[in-house]
Symmetry: none
Subunit: 195 residues, 4 copies
C-alpha cells in the first residue's frame, strides 16, 4: 500500500538525514511517486512524521515483547542473554529503523516529544515488571529491592550494548555481549571464580 510505503520511506530518509534532511522530494522518490501525491495521504510533513514515529516505537515495543514471549520459559540468565542478543540482532537487521529510533530519542522534533516520553515510560515499566516477575520466579529468595536493582543493572547493560551497536563492528560487539552476559552471571550466581 502506498500509504505504508510512504511511512517506510519517511523512516528510512529520517535515519539517513534527520528531520530537516528527510525531504518530501526524497521520500516521494523512494516510493516512486511525486511529492504532491504524499499530501493525499498525509496532511503535511509533520503529520507524516508523527505517524512514522508512532510506527517506529510500536514496532520496537512489539519486537521486544515477542522476544520475551519466546523465551520466558527458560532460566532467567538465558532470558537476559536472549534479550540482549535479540536486541542486537533486531537492530542489525533494521539499521534504518534503529538509526531513526536513536535520532528520535536523542533529538526528538518538538511535536513528538510528549508522545516519545509517554512511550518510554510505558516501555520501561513493562520491561521492569516483566523481568522482576521472572527474576522472582527463578530466584525466590531474592528480595524485591534486589530484584529491582538487578533489573536496573540489566537495563543498564542493555543500554550499553545498544549504544555500542553504533560504535563497534560485529566481532567487537560479540565480545562486549559476552562481557554483559558474564556480568549478569556473576550477579546472579556469585560463582565468579567459576568462570
Amino acid at each position: 500500500m502506498t500509504k505504508d510505503k510512504i511511512l517506510e520511506a519517511a523512516i528510512h530518509q529520517y535515519s539517513l538525514h534527520n528531520y530537516h534532511g528527510a525531504t518530501m522530494q526524497k521520500i516521494a522518490k523512494e516510493v516512486g511517486i511525486k511529492p504532491a501525491s504524499i499530501y493525499f495521504f498525509y496532511k503535511n510533513k509533520e503529520s507524516l512524521f508523527v505517524a512514522a514515529f508512532q510506527k517506529l516505537l510500536e514496532d520496537h515495543f512489539k519486537r521486544m515483547q515477542s522476544i520475551l514471549e519466546e523465551v520466558h520459559e527458560k532460566p532467567i540468565l538465558d532470558i537476559f542473554a536472549t534479550l540482549i542478543k535479540g536486541t542486537v540482532e533486531y537492530h542489525k537487521n533494521n539499521m534504518n529503523e534503529t538509526n531513526a529510533y536513536i535520532s528520535l530519542v536523542t533529538s526528538p522534533p518538538a511535536e513528538i516529544k510528549k508522545f516519545l516520553h509517554d512511550h518510554m515510560n510505558k516501555f520501561d515499566k513493562w520491561m521492569i515488571d516483566s523481568l522482576h516477575h521472572l527474576i522472582k520466579r527463578d530466584h525466590p529468595k531474592i528480595s524485591d529491592e534486589e530484584a529491582v536493582n538487578l533489573t536496573r543493572k540489566f537495563i543498564l547493560l542493555l543500554d550499553g550494548i545498544f549504544w555500542e551497536i553504533n560504535l563497534y563492528d560485529d566481532d567487537e560487539l560479540s565480545v562486549q555481549i559476552e562481557q554483559a552476559v558474564h556480568i549478569l552471571e556473576v550477579l546472579l550466581g556469585g560463582n565468579y571464580n567459576a568462570k
Copy 2:
C-alpha cells in the same frame, strides 16, 4: 575571536537541529554577524562543520584525559566511579556539545565519517591502555586477559550510562550510576569472598 564563536554556534545549532536544520542564518545570528561573513572564515557549510566536529571530538577527548589525570592516584574503584560521574557531569554541563556529539556518532555526515572512525579508535585505545595499566597497578594478581575484560566491562557500563543521560532525569540517573559502581565493586571482588 569571531572564527571560534562561529564554531561554537555551529555546534550549538547542530545539537538543536542537526546538520540540515543548523542553517548559516541561525549560526550567524547566534554570533551576531551576517551569514555572508561566515564565508570569510570558512569556505562553505561543509568545511565549517568539519572544523566544528573536529573541535567537538578533541574537546571530548581532552576532557576525558583531564578527568583521568585528576584521579589517577586514587584506588581503581574510585577512578571508575569518578570517570563515570565526571562523564555524566561533563555532559550535563555541556548538553549542547553532548547532543551534537551523539548526533555525530549516530548519524555522521558522510564527509566526516573517516575522521570520526579514526578518532573513536584512538579514544578507545587510549582508554583501554590507561585503565589496563591502572587495574594492574592496584590488582597485580589479575591476569592480563582478566584486566582487559574488566576494562571492557567498564566501558560497557560507561556507554550504558552515557546513553541513559538522554533517557533519564537526574534522580533516575543517579540510581543507575549506583548500579554501575556496584557492578564494578562486585567485579573487583569488593564484597565477594569468592574472589
Copy 3:
C-alpha cells in the same frame, strides 16, 4: 508553452548580458513566472542553457537550409547573392538570436564546446557539399578543385559579411554586400571590367 518561452527568454537574455548576466530572475521575469518555476522544467541554469544553445544552432541551420532550398533553381551567382542577403536579413530580424549565436561561437561555455564543434563541422560540410554541387551544375567545366576553392571563397565572404553585421549600420552593410557579390561575379565570370 512555458518550457519554450523559458528557452526563448534565456536566449534573449544571453544575447543581452552573456551567460553570467542572464540571471534566472531576468529570464523568469521575461516569461512572467517566478524564478523557482524554471526549475520545474530545467534541472539548473546550465542545463537550461545547453537546451537553449542547441535550439539556437538548430534554428540557424534550418534557416540556412530553407534559404538554399528556395533559391536552388536559380543561377549560382543569384544563389550566392541570395544566401548572403538572406543571412543578413535573417540576422537583422533576429538580433537576439544572432548576438547569442556570436557570443556562443566566440566564447562558448565549457559544457557546450563539444556540441558546438560538432555542429560547426556538420554545418560546414553541408554548405560545402551543397554549393559544390550547384557550382558544377552551372559551370560544368570548372574542375573539382576550383569548385572547392570557390566555395571556400564564398564562405570567407559570407563570414566577413556576418562579422560586419556587428560593425556597420544598414547603409554601410549594403555597400559591403555589393562588394561581396561583385567579387563572386568576377570569380565566376572574369568579365571584371564589365562592371
Copy 4:
C-alpha cells in the same frame, strides 16, 4: 607594476567569462593580491574595465599601425597579404586579448559603447585612408572610386578571416588565407588579362 597587472588580468578574465563573469575576486587572484586592493587603483569595477578596454583597443590599433609601417614599401599585394597574416598571427598569439576584443565588439557593456564606436570609426578611417593611398601609389590608373571599393573588399576579406580565427584550426585557416590572397590577386588584375 600592480596597476598594469590588474589591467591585464581584467582583460584575461573578461576574455574567459565576459563582464559579469570577470569578478574582482578572480582578477585579484590572478594578480596575486586581495580584491580590496584593486580599489586602491581603480574606483570600481566599471572604471577598471573602461581602462582595460581602452588599453585593448589602443594596443590593437598600434599593432595594426606597426604592421603597416613595416611593409608599406612593398607592393600593394604583399601589403594586403602581410596585413592579413599579421592580423592572424597577432590574434593567435594574443587569444586572451582577441577574445576580449571580440566580446567587446559583439556585446559591449553600455558604459563603453560610445568610446567603442568612436574608436571603430577612427580605426576604419585610418585603414581606408592608408590603403587608398598605397593602392593609388602602385596602381595610379585606378580611379578613386575603384580604389575605395578595393579597400572595402580588402576589409571584407580581413573581417572574414578574422571571424574564422574562431572557427577553424590552423591548417584550415591557412587555406582560407590563401583564398583571400588569391581573390585580391585577381582583383588587382594579377593573372587576368581582362583588366
